[in-house]
């Protein structure tokens, strides 16, 4: 067995072991529960949620914003690392691209879950008004789904061809890989087209991703609502997306490294570098948080003051401080130290970052709705507050599980570490596979 064959064997997708199967079944069950809850919501109407006329958007929208955010850096990191030719990027770009792809698809699904009349979805395309930020959102999400699929797919082509050969003894699987590899033979012409295409999509995804995050922020800042009506919101969302994206990437990387034994490829140095990126992202995000929360505290009109008081010391204070300290302060302090950037510590910090980021979106969406310009009157007492209902939790968990399921399925059938590229970098590529 040549070194190359060994590498292919090591990096080729393997069937799940017991834990992997359990994990997948678990996800499928959660997704199914979500689907059942959603069907119930369709039948009974959104009365099954705890959203009402004042808190008119709830966990669906905050979850949507979370998906959009996490989809950002997955591909942006990939694009930047590709364009800057950082050679250490090789083992982690595909993981980032998979996360981005799964997240943006679920973002698209989640926004439909929030609609009162999903049966009229087509109206968005047939009667779309370009004045509405929702129309922009629909367009940019559709676009981003295509682009993240393409940035995932182009670099995959040579690997799929390798897998086609590797699974020769399993003709059905081999046929599928052959089909998806688009007759990849590694000809000079194919390499040239592929290289050019990757360059194109990597350049294009940067502005599209920035537009996506900005539009997502504008869904809120184009309204008059206290806490949303802020010119700061676009860059604030981009910085936040950077944080959660890197956090998500590190978390998934660590899990894969642990369960597949990829220590050779996903090294301590990779974690260290990503840890540095994360702390940088957190610092930038901290800056925007300060300008988002501290500045209004100085010139706060009455309504803004009430909103901030609610966050700082009121009903949402525990959550707010958990999110601020756990999602910003703690990561910044811990990741300043080299030991803090060791894989295990970094993993737990990243999990903390992802969880707090999810709740952060919740804090952006919900409390602002509880501070309308006119007092809340004439509605039942329970409409004065909001916490997601069982249906909302089931459906939201379903979407999160579905995103993880997409990642899991891709991990199961796609080499998570680019095989061809790694072989090339190691100099063990058989001559017939060379792109030169």
């Amino acid at each position: 067995m040549t070194k190359y064959e060994e590498l292919v064997k090591e990096l080729a997708p393997r069937p799940f072991k017991k834990l992997g199967v359990l994990w997948t079944i678990g996800l499928v069950v959660v997704v199914l529960i979500g689907i059942v809850a959603y069907i119930d919501q369709i039948i009974k109407g959104q009365i099954v949620t705890n959203m009402r006329d004042y808190v008119l958007w709830g966990v669906y929208i905050s979850n949507f914003v979370f998906f959009v955010a996490i989809s950002f850096v997955g591909s942006l990191t990939a694009a930047i690392l590709r364009l800057s030719h950082s050679s250490w990027r090789t083992p982690l770009v595909r993981i980032a691209e998979i996360i981005a792809f799964a997240a943006i698809i679920m973002a698209g699904v989640t926004i439909v879950l929030d609609m009162g009349r999903p049966d009229r979805l087509l109206h968005l395309f047939t009667d779309g008004r370009l004045q509405s930020p929702i129309t922009w959102d629909v367009i940019i999400i559709t676009t981003y789904i295509f682009i993240s699929a393409l940035i995932l797919f182009f670099p995959l082509l040579p690997d799929l061809a390798i897998l086609k050969d590797y699974f020769k003894d399993r003709p059905m699987l081999s046929k599928w890989y052959g089909w998806f590899s688009l007759n990849w033979t590694g000809s000079t012409k194919q390499w040239a087209i592929q290289k050019k295409s990757i360059q194109m999509v990597a350049i294009m995804i940067i502005p599209v991703a920035l537009i996506l995050q900005t539009i997502d922020a504008w869904l809120f800042s184009t309204t008059f609502r206290i806490g949303w009506d802020s010119t700061n919101l676009g860059p604030y969302f981009i910085a936040g997306a950077f944080v959660v994206g890197v956090g998500g990437l590190i978390s998934v990387m660590y899990v894969l490294r642990y369960s597949y034994g990829l220590e050779k490829y996903l090294t301590v140095s990779h974690f260290d570098k990503l840890g540095k990126i994360l702390v940088f992202a957190c610092l930038v995000y901290l800056y925007f948080n300060i300008s988002e929360y501290l500045l209004p505290a100085f010139t706060a009109p009455k309504a803004e003051e009430a909103h901030l008081r609610e966050l700082f010391t009121g009903h949402y204070a525990p959550l707010f401080w958990f999110v601020t300290i756990g999602g910003l302060i703690v990561p910044i302090i811990v990741l300043m130290f080299k030991k803090g950037r060791s894989p295990k510590v970094l993993f737990w910090i990243s999990i903390l970052v992802v969880v707090t980021s999810w709740w952060k979106r919740y804090l952006i969406v919900v409390p602002a709705l509880l501070h309308p310009f006119l007092p809340i009157q004439g509605v039942p007492e329970e409409w004065h507050s909001y916490f997601p209902s069982a249906h909302e939790w089931a459906i939201t968990s379903g979407t999160l599980a579905a995103a993880l399921l997409i990642i899991t399925i891709l991990v199961r059938f796609v080499p998570i570490i680019p095989v061809h590229r790694t072989a090339k970098e190691l100099g063990i590529l058989p001559t017939d596979k060379s792109e030169e």
């Binding site: 367009i139 676009t143 682009i147 688009l182 007759n183 194919q190």
Partner: protein, 282 residues
């Protein structure tokens, strides 16, 4: 005369029934009737009738109640003129045709409105008397100020003095009074009402109404169109390209800028997909 016979039969029948105790429903409620003589110049004079009764929940309108109208034709006799029925608001109208023979004295008309033999109400009556009059009006300019001049005369064309006239402009849901709440006619039966503010009207046309509500003459109204108003200027942004317009009137910058972006991005996506085909083919 056939009809009279019929009615006589009816009266007989009613008499007979009451004798035999056939009166089924108790005539409990006491209805109150109010009548106004109402004349809009140029159209038929009418009696405007409003009815109500004190029911269990305070005053209520007498709905769908037949009202009989009688006219006094001599000192001691009245004639049945017709009937009308109240609507859901307890209101009814009755059109009069007063073909008065020319004479040199002003006639006094007297009418009676009655509820008779009703299932619900005791018999009730209300009478009204009125004299005929007419109002004319026109816009004039005096001392370079626009005025509405109105004149009130009686049946013989003699000016009526000391009656109050109200001048107003007809509006969508009511009428807007011009100047004082009312003006008394002078010796010549005239009033002069200055129009200080220029009011807006469609194409500058205002429908001016002059109205008298008098005990002696009833309600008499004269209205005419006059081109004395400001022209209405439509301020609607409906035809413009605004942020709140429908899709076919999107502002240009929002049509051009996003569409350029979309076209640009999707052109590249199309190119990339065609590249996939190229790879597949080669």
């Amino acid at each position: 005369m056939k009809a009279i016979q019929k009615l006589n039969t009816a009266i007989f029948l009613a008499f007979a029934f009451s004798l035999f105790g056939f009166q089924v429903v108790a005539q409990d409620y006491k209805a109150r009737i109010s009548v106004d003589y109402y004349q809009e110049m140029g159209s038929d004079a009418i009696l405007k009738i409003t009815t109500k009764f004190k029911g269990d929940n305070g005053y209520e309108p007498c709905t769908n109640t037949t009202l009989n109208i009688y006219k006094q034709i001599s000192a001691d006799s009245i004639a049945f003129m017709g009937k009308t029925e109240t609507n859901m608001d307890g209101k009814a109208e009755y059109v009069l045709k007063l073909n008065n023979t020319p004479s040199d004295t002003v006639a006094i008309f007297k009418y009676f409105v009655r509820i008779e033999n009703s299932d619900m109400f005791k018999d009730a009556e209300k009478d009204i008397d009125f004299m005929l009059s007419s109002i004319s009006a026109e816009p004039t300019v005096e001392d370079s100020v626009l005025h509405i001049q109105a004149k009130l005369v009686d049946e013989l064309g003699e000016p009526i003095k000391g009656e109050k006239l109200v001048v107003s402009v007809k509006r969508l849901f009511g009428s807007l009074v011009i100047g004082e709440s009312s003006y008394s006619t002078d010796r010549k039966g005239k009033i002069m009402v200055p129009v200080v503010d220029s009011l807006p009207g469609t194409d500058g046309i205002l429908t001016i109404q002059v109205k008298m509500d008098s005990k002696k003459y009833g309600i008499v109204k004269y209205s005419f169109d006059a081109n004395i108003g400001k022209e209405i200027v439509d301020e609607s942004t409906y035809e413009q390209r605004t942020m709140w317009s429908p899709p076919n009137k999107t502002p240009w910058f929002l049509l051009i800028f996003p569409n350029l972006l979309i076209l640009g991005i999707w052109f590249v996506i199309a190119l990339l997909i065609s590249n996939l085909f190229k790879i597949y083919k080669s």
